[in-house]
Symmetry: C2
Subunit: 669 residues, 2 copies
C-alpha cells in the first residue's frame, strides 16, 4: 500500500465530485481498490440501504472491471464501513436528514450517516471518489462533511405534451440520485394528455391520453423506485386551466356553455381557453374523488395543483359563470380562481396533503402552508417569501430555453444580493430544474435534461460560494460519463439520431458539423416551425445537443487568448485546429446534408460554418502578427457573424459571441 | 408526380430489403411519400393489424420527418390499401400463413395478405421500401410476391446465465419483427438461474434467481408483445441437467445422496453434474405441477424441455439410482435419460403441448411429434430427419462463436448438397440463431445479436439462391440503421462502452483502434479469462463489435486488389488510408490505453496494429511497383501476422487473413 505525502498528494487526488460537498479536506495517501474490497454495515441496515450498497458495489465493479464480493457483513471488518443510525422518516419529507460524513484513510473508509437517505447521498460520493491511474484504482484519502444547502432539490418533468415510458422515468431517477436531487415533480396532466390511470374516472385516460399513460401499478413502481433512491415524488394535476384532456371524457367539468363540446385532446401548444368550471358543486365532488384516489398513489406530503396560465376566457363567455361571479362578488376571473383554490385547498387537506401551486395560486390571504412554485422567476419568489410563504424557484432553470449549463449554474435561488431577511430566507426551500415536453420525445429527452441538470443540482446542494465555472465544466464532463453509466442516453443520442437522419453508419462529417451547433430555444422553434404535439421530432435540431462540450471549450480558449494573446499557444493551436477541421470537412458535410430533404435544409448553415471558421482563422492570424487586417475585414466579418445569428434550420452556432469578441479584438488598421 | 422510365429507373430503385422477398419485379416510376400519405383497411382489420399500421405510420414519419395522419380509414381510398382476408390463427402455429403481396404503382400501393401475420410481414417490407433522395421521399414502383422458405425462424436467447429485463426482450422482439423472424425461444432456466415466477414453487426464484426473474405478468406482457408482432414464444425449461438453480429451493429434486445439499446457484460455466432425479415419483409430481403452471403462461403449441448435456455423473454416484437402473434394465445413463423423457412426454402432452428438445432427447422409438433442435449441427439434423423427425438447425448460428455475418449467412439448414429425400426435407422446419449469455449482459446483448442475426433471418426467409455476400453486407448496413430505429443499441453500445472504459467523452483514438478489432469467441474467452457468472463484463472485449463493418470492407478491398491489382485504384486508396489512419492514431491510442489497468492490457495489440498497418502499406507498394520487396520481407511480415494471431487482451484483429493473402501475393524477389 503506497502512502503518498507532500508533492505526490496533488497527483493522487483529482476532485471530480459533483455536487461538491460542503466541506472536503484532502489527506495524504490513498486506499487501494482491489478485488478484496468489501462493505459492512455494523449498525443499522434495511432493504433500502442494502439495495443501495449493492448498486454501489456494481458501480465500483463496472468502473474497474475488478470482480468484488457482493456479500455485505454486519460486523466491523470491511474496507468501507457504512455506519448508519436509523432508517429515517417512513415517508421522506422536507425535513429528512440527508447529512453524512465520509472518511477515507490509506487503510479504510467509513461513511457515517444519521439516516439511510444520508447514507444514499454518501454512497454516491463514494462512487464518484473512485479514481483510476494507469496501474490501479483507489480512493484518495479525504475527510468529507456534507449536507445540502436546500431541502427541496427538484427535477420537474412534463409527461403530458409527450409521454415517457417507465424505463425513461427510472433512468431519470437514477440520474437524479447520482447528483443528489431529491424531488421528482411529475407533471401528470395537461391539455395534451392525462397520464395516470384513474379507476374512478376511467375516461380520463381511455379518451384523454391516446393510450399513453401510467397504470396505477406503474405509478407505485416508480414511487417505490424513487424512494429507494431517497427521492420524493410530487405529482402535479394542473387545474383549473391546462385541463382540456380531462374534458374529452368528462365534458361536464368544463366551463363551456351547454353543448359547447365535444372536446378533443389539444394538439397545439400555448394557452388554452377551456378550463374547469369552478362554479358547480359537481366539480368539487369530482375533484374530491379524483384527489382522494390520486393521493392514495402518492405518499408524499405535497400535492401540486398547478394553477398556472388560466386565462379566464371560457369563464367570461359563459353567462352562468359571470352571474356566479357577481353573485359571489368576485370582481374578475383572478378572483374566481382564488375562489376555486379556496374550495380546492380543503379537499387537498382532507387527504392530509400540503398544496403546491405555480405563481398564480398566490393571492392575499392564502393559507401559509401552501407552497408557491415560481415559474415567473426570482422576483415573484422574493415577493411571496417576503409575505411569509414558502417557495421553490424554477424559472431560471427551464431546460427548454436551451441555455448553457453555465447560465443555469450561476442562477441562485437565494442570491447574495437578496433583500430577504434571514427568517424570510428560510422560506426559500430550494428549486426545480424544469423539463417541459413540447419538443422532446423518449429518444431526445435525456439529451435535453443531462448533463445540464447536474450543474443545477450542484447549485441546490453545494455551498453558495462554489461558483467556479471552469471547474464546474471540468467536473461536469466526468459526471456526464457517470450519468451514461446509469443508462442515460444523453451522449449516445446525438450519433444515433444522426445515423437515422443520414440512413448510414458513416456520420463522421455530420458529427463534426454537429459539434458547432445547438438547438434553438423552445420559443424560437415554436415560432419558426409552428410545432404541435403531432410534429415529428426527427430533424437536425432533435439530434444536436444543448451546450455541447465544444461550446464552452471554444469560449474558454477564445477568452484565454483575448486575456493574453501571446501567452496561450496551446489554446491558439487548438482553436486553429477546430476551425480548420470545420473547413476541411465542409465538402463531406455538404455531401452528407444533400442526401435527404430533412438534412438539406441545413445546407446554408454548412456554408456559414465555413465562412465563420475562415474568419476565426484570420482573426487568430491578425491577432498574432504585425500584418494589419485589410480595411473592411472587421466590418465584413462582423456582418457575416451577424447574418449567422438569423434563424435557419432550427439550429444555431455555439460560438458566435466569443468569435465576435475575437474579431473585435483585432486592431483596426 | 414524376413518372420515371427507362434509364431513370435504375436510379430510383435501390433494393435494400432484408430479407429479400421470394419474388420482386421493379417497375417504372415511383409513388411519392408526402404529408398526404394515408393507409386504409377496406376489408378485415383487428387490434393487432391496427397497432401494426400505427407502428408503420410512425416509422414512415420518423424516416422522413414528414407529419402524416394516423387515422386509418376502412374505405378504399388511401395511398396504401392494406387488404387482409382474416385474422389468421387465434394461436399462431407453424402452419400460420405468412404470405403477402405488395404492389406499388406511381399512384397507389396495395398490400394483400390472407392473414394479419402476412400483413405484418408486408408492412415491414413497406417500411424498408421507403427511399429518400435529396429532394423527396418515395416508394419505388414494384411488384412483390413473398412467402417464407422455412416455417420456423427463431432467435434463442439464454436469460439464465445473465438476466435481461423486459425492455431488452421487447426491443429484441422488435428487431426480430423487422427481419421477419417468427419464433422467440426463451431459455428460461439453467444452472445459473431460474427466471420465471412460479406461484406453485416460489423458491425456484426466491432462492434460485438472485432476484432476477420475470413475474408472470411480465411473461404475459412479453407473450402479448410478441404475438402483436407475429412472433411465437417457445419457453424452454432445460432438464434433467442444467437444473442446479432449481435445487437451491427444492433440493429433493436432485439426484444427490441424502444430505448432499444444500445446493447453490452455479456461478461457473460448463457442464454441471447435478441433475434431476428421474427415479422418484415425486419428481414427476413436481414436474406435472410446474409444467401445468408454466404452460398456462405460454399459449404456444410447443414446449421446450432442453435435455442437453446431462452427464449422468450424479446418477451414477447414487446407489439408489444405480439400483433403479438395473431394476428397470436401463443399461446406462443415456437409457435413464430416455426413461426420464418417456415420463416427461405425457406430462407435456397432458397440457396439450408438443415437446421440443435438444439433440440428446433423440433416441430410437421417440414419438414422432417431438421436435429435435440440433445444436450439434447439420449432421445430427439430417440423421433425425432421415428417421422422420421434425428438426430445427441451430449450431451453425451460435452468435457467441463470434463468426462473421457472412459465415452465419452461408450456412443453410437444407444445403443443396443434402442427401435428404424431398419428403425428408419437409421435416427440416427451419432454424434458430442462438444467443448464449455467458459473456453478455444487458449493455452488450444487442451488439452480440445484431445485425448478424438479420443475415441469418434472410437465410431462413429468402429463396435458397440468395447468396450474394457483397449484396447482403450492403443491405445489412442499411438494415442495421433500421434496427437502431426500433431502439436496439448494437451500434451505440461500442462508443458508450469505450467512454465508460476511458472515463471521458474523447474517445476518437479508441474508436479508430476498435475498428480493427473484434471479440474472441466464447470458448477462447472462457479459456483465457476463466470467466464465471460473476466476472465483470467491462473490458475492451465487451465494447468491440463482432464483425464490425470495417472487417468485411477491408476483406472485400483486398480481394478486389488481388483479383486485379491495377484495376482497383479506389480500393487501393481506401486501404492505404485505413492503414495510415491506424498508424497515425497510434500515439493517441497508446495514450488512451495507458489511462487505466483495464485498458492497458491492450497496449500490445496497439503496437501490433502499427506493425500490421505498416506491412499492409508496404505490401500495397510492392504490389504496384517494380521495386521488389527486400529479401526476408515476406517471411518477417508473415511472422508478424502469425504472432498477431496469438491470444492477447481477449480481442483479435479483423483483417489478418486477407492481409496474409495480400502479403503472399507480393512476388518473391
Amino acid at each position: 500500500m503506497a502512502i503518498l505525502t507532500g508533492s505526490a498528494l496533488a497527483q493522487t487526488f483529482t476532485n471530480t465530485l459533483l455536487p461538491q460537498p460542503s466541506s472536503l479536506a484532502a489527506q495524504s495517501g490513498q486506499l487501494p481498490f482491489t478485488t478484496t474490497f468489501t462493505i459492512a454495515t455494523p449498525h443499522f441496515h434495511d432493504a433500502r440501504l442494502d439495495a443501495a450498497i449493492q448498486r454501489t458495489l456494481i458501480s465500483l465493479e463496472h468502473q474497474t472491471a475488478l470482480p468484488i464480493s457482493k456479500i455485505v457483513a454486519t460486523g466491523n471488518s470491511a474496507t468501507l464501513i457504512v455506519d448508519v443510525q436509523g432508517a429515517g422518516q417512513p415517508i421522506q419529507s422536507l425535513d429528512e436528514d440527508e447529512t453524512y460524513s465520509l472518511t477515507v484513510t490509506p487503510t479504510s473508509a467509513t461513511l457515517h450517516a444519521p439516516t439511510v437517505v444520508g447514507a444514499l447521498r454518501g454512497l454516491q460520493t463514494v462512487q464518484q471518489l473512485l479514481q483510476t491511474d494507469p496501474t490501479h484504482s483507489f480512493f484518495p484519502a479525504v475527510q468529507i462533511e456534507d449536507a445540502p444547502r436546500f431541502r427541496w432539490r427538484g427535477l420537474h418533468l412534463d409527461v403530458s405534451r409527450h409521454f415517457f415510458p417507465v424505463p425513461v422515468i427510472k433512468r431519470t431517477l437514477d440520474g437524479m440520485a447520482s447528483v443528489k436531487l431529491n424531488v421528482f415533480h411529475w407533471h401528470l396532466s395537461d391539455d395534451q394528455g392525462f397520464r395516470v390511470e384513474s379507476k374512478r374516472f376511467p375516461r380520463l385516460t381511455s379518451l384523454g391520453s391516446n393510450g399513453l399513460f401510467y397504470t396505477q401499478d406503474q405509478v407505485r413502481e416508480v414511487v417505490a423506485y424513487a424512494r429507494d433512491r431517497g427521492i420524493r415524488v410530487v405529482p402535479e394535476f394542473d387545474m383549473p386551466g391546462h385541463t382540456r384532456s380531462w374534458f374529452v371524457g368528462y365534458p361536464d367539468l368544463a366551463s363551456g356553455l351547454a353543448g359547447s363540446g365535444p372536446y378533443t385532446i389539444r394538439r397545439e401548444f400555448g394557452i388554452e381557453d377551456a378550463a374547469i368550471d369552478p362554479t358547480r358543486e359537481s366539480t368539487y365532488q369530482f375533484l374530491d374523488v379524483l384527489i382522494g384516489e390520486m393521493t392514495s398513489l402518492f405518499p408524499d406530503p405535497y400535492f401540486h395543483v398547478g394553477g398556472d396560465e388560466s386565462n379566464g376566457k371560457q369563464w367570461k363567455s359563459n353567462a352562468r359563470i359571470v352571474d356566479f361571479m357577481s353573485a359571489h362578488t368576485l370582481k374578475d376571473t383572478d378572483a374566481l380562481q382564488v375562489y376555486f383554490n379556496q374550495r380546492l385547498l380543503p379537499i387537498v387537506q382532507k387527504y392530509h396533503k400540503h398544496m403546491v401551486g405555480w405563481d398564480e395560486v398566490f393571492h392575499p390571504g392564502l393559507p401559509k402552508d401552501v407552497i408557491i412554485q415560481s415559474w415567473r422567476g426570482a422576483k415573484a419568489l422574493t415577493e411571496s417569501a417576503t409575505q411569509g410563504y414558502q417557495g421553490i424557484l424554477s424559472q431560471p432553470y427551464y431546460l427548454d430555453g436551451m441555455k448553457s449549463a453555465k447560465d443555469n449554474y450561476l442562477a441562485d435561488p437565494l442570491p447574495t444580493t437578496s433583500t430577504l431577511t434571514p427568517e424570510q430566507r428560510t422560506f426559500v426551500l430550494g428549486g426545480e430544474v424544469c423539463m417541459w415536453a413540447e419538443h422532446i420525445d423518449e429518444r431526445s429527452v435525456d439529451s435535453r435534461i443531462w448533463p445540464r441538470a447536474a450543474a443545477v443540482a450542484e447549485r441546490f446542494w453545494s455551498p453558495q460560494s462554489i461558483t467556479d465555472v471552469d471547474d464546474m465544466y471540468r467536473r461536469l464532463a466526468v459526471q456526464s460519463i457517470r450519468l451514461e453509466a446509469v443508462g442515460l442516453t444523453h451522449i449516445s443520442h446525438e450519433a444515433t439520431a444522426l445515423r437515422q437522419l443520414a440512413g448510414t453508419e458513416n456520420i463522421d462529417p455530420l458529427l463534426i458539423f454537429a459539434s458547432a451547433l445547438e438547438p434553438v430555444s423552445f420559443s424560437d422553434r415554436y415560432r419558426q416551425q409552428h410545432t404541435t404535439q403531432l410534429t415529428p421530432l426527427d430533424n437536425l435540431i432533435d439530434a444536436v445537443r444543448p451546450d455541447p462540450p465544444s461550446r464552452y471549450e471554444t469560449e474558454r480558449m477564445i477568452h484565454q487568448i483575448l486575456k493574453a494573446p501571446t501567452a496561450s499557444p496551446e489554446a491558439r493551436t487548438h482553436l486553429q485546429q477546430s476551425f480548420q477541421r470545420w473547413i476541411n470537412a465542409a465538402p463531406s458535410i455538404e455531401a452528407a446534408l444533400s442526401t435527404s430533404p430533412a438534412l438539406s435544409t441545413a445546407l446554408p448553415r454548412a456554408h456559414q460554418l465555413t465562412e465563420l471558421s475562415k474568419i476565426g482563422l484570420q482573426a487568430l492570424t491578425y491577432l498574432s502578427s504585425t500584418t494589419p487586417a485589410p480595411t473592411n475585414w472587421k466590418q465584413q466579418s462582423l456582418a457575416t457573424i451577424e447574418a449567422a445569428k438569423a434563424p435557419s434550420a432550427l439550429v444555431r452556432f455555439t460560438f458566435l459571441a466569443p468569435l465576435q469578441e475575437l474579431v473585435n479584438a483585432v486592431p483596426i488598421p
